[in-house]
């Protein structure tokens, strides 16, 4: 089991980066959904006043 630490470090690093990227994408998606909802509100308001 010599060098087990290196093996664990490599695999932990891989999963940390992959999950970090997936989480970042999810955050971007949530932000976009909020922005779209705000835009929809603006469009609705503009439609009512027209």
């Amino acid at each position: 089991m010599e060098n087990l630490g290196y093996l664990l470090a490599a695999y932990t690093g891989i999963w940390a980066v992959v999950f970090g990227y997936i989480l970042a994408m999810q955050r971007r998606q949530r932000r976009l959904e909020r922005q779209l909802a705000r835009l929809q509100e603006q469009l609705d308001r503009a439609g009512k006043t027209a």
């Binding site: 089991m1 010599e2 060098n3 087990l4 290196y6 093996l7 470090a9 490599a10 695999y11 690093g13 891989i14 980066v17 992959v18 990227y21 997936i22 994408m25 971007r28 998606q29 976009l32 959904e33 922005q35 779209l36 835009l39 603006q42 469009l43 503009a46």
Partner: protein
Amino acid sequence: MRNGKSAVRDSFLWGLGLLLMLAALYMVFAYVPTEKNTGIVQRIFYFHVPLAWVSFLAFFITFIFSILYLGKRAVKWDALAHASAEVGVIFTTLVLITGPIWAKPVWGIWWTWDARLTTSLVLWLIYLAYLLVRGLTAEPERGARFSAVIGIVGFIDVPIVFLTVNLWRTQHPTTIVFEGGLTAPMLATLLVCVTAFTVLYALLTWQSARLKTLEAEFRRLTMMQTEKEE
């Protein structure tokens, strides 16, 4: 934002990706025998090599969609090229992280400026520039055009990286996979890992491209709304 059918398809594909990755992990840690010369740390090979191969594939896809974008100027081609480059940079980052972690116990050093390692670092920098150049331009379309040029010209480095170990004498091992240097269980494990990472790449790229297309559409609608208000 998504209909029920595409949500079911997405869940199925992510489930398939997860199963493949679990199979890959099982084969790496439970199935394949430990390599005699370098010991347990050699198991890094089964993720390090697929990550490198799939990053080459990612940059090839960026190359193709960059050409299509420059020819047709359709947002979807830019979104796919951009998403593929993004995932390619992440995978190359992982290659540059796992490589030194594997090198230290085997070579006794973390890094050496040999041809394979240096050209791999250059490849990472080229596609990092591809991603950064978008943020440096005020107009998104201009940024997309600049990065498409980088995506096409930068691809020259991919075959160079691949051939370095055969063209020059390097610290990095030669392409043992193609020279029959692997036993049957090692080759089977490598192939399962390559498949798992190819599916992961496709899923991440598809998801990211869809998000980028929506972001572009949102920018377009916001501009239209602002113009209307003015």
